[in-house]
């Protein structure tokens, strides 16, 4: 499990009074302010973020230690990371995408199907995108109890029971 999760990025300054423009990657964009101090990618800088107003493509925010437009401009492109522990706990059968991505996928026979590359939802339930080794592209697996009976975050693996035709047809690869 990752110990830090990217929740947004600074895209520049807003106005001339030291506010910054931030783009949120959260499911609820305004939640970016709820995860306490956010740090930069290398962890060298930490910011307390206060949302002042919504603006086009994100939020205008006041960052701790940033008092001028020049300082805000210098931070353009900085990604903001929240500690994984700051995210609230979830009920059974609900998982953060960040926790699922990177887990090793095995089937009930013990065959390795690679790792989880991404999680999608196109309106018909969540789908895990697997990247099996030696295969050109990804395979999409519905995230249901029947098909994914076991998700073991501590040991970092998922057990799947794939339906017929999910893996053996070249059409299912990208």
């Amino acid at each position: 499990m990752k110990d830090r999760i990217c929740v947004g990025a600074i895209t520049g300054s807003f106005g001339v009074k030291g506010e910054a423009r931030v783009k949120s990657f959260c499911a609820d964009p305004a939640a970016i302010g709820d995860y306490g101090p956010l740090s930069s990618e290398d962890g060298s800088r930490s910011f307390t973020l206060k949302i002042t107003r919504p603006v086009k493509t994100g939020f205008a925010v006041r960052l701790s230690g940033v008092t001028s437009k020049e300082q805000a401009d210098a931070l353009r492109g900085t990604r903001l990371y929240a500690p994984r522990d700051a995210l609230p706990g979830l009920p059974d059968d609900e998982f953060y995408h960040a926790d699922l991505i990177g887990l090793t996928v095995l089937d009930t026979g013990g065959t390795d199907h690679g790792k989880v590359h991404a999680v999608h939802n196109h309106g018909a339930g969540d789908l895990l995108e697997l990247r099996p080794k030696g295969r050109k592209g990804g395979v999409l697996v519905p995230f249901t109890r029947d098909i994914v009976p076991t998700v073991d975050l501590t040991s970092g693996r998922i057990i799947i029971d794939p339906p017929e035709g999910l893996f053996d047809d070249p059409d299912s690869s990208t």
Binding site: A124, F143, G165
Partner: protein
């Protein structure tokens, strides 16, 4: 203009045949279809279709809420990954 009611919902005949065969066999399988224009009917509920998006078959588990929609609505033709951040997935 919406489709006339007297015609009934449109479904490609091969989709109906494949769904019926799958239901009769009772096997757990992905029914591969290319017909994005077909309407989702009540008899498809509980089945898993692989709906072609021009590139690959996207698995679609049909539920009651999806009746009356078209298969193509659940199989996007463009990919956008975005960021995981605090997004959640629910196992149904």
């Amino acid at each position: 203009m919406s489709r006339s009611v007297w015609k009934g919902p449109f479904v490609d005949s091969y989709v109906l045949k494949k769904a019926e065969a799958s239901r009769e066999s009772g096997r757990n399988e992905v029914i591969k279809i290319w017909s994005r224009r077909s309407t989702i009917l009540p008899q498809f509920v509980g089945l898993t279709f692989g709906v072609y998006n021009g590139h690959k078959h996207i698995p679609v588990n049909v539920t009651e809420d999806m009746i009356g929609q078209k298969f193509g609505e659940y199989s996007p033709t463009r990919t956008y990954y975005g960021h995981a951040a605090d997004k959640k997935a629910k196992r149904k």
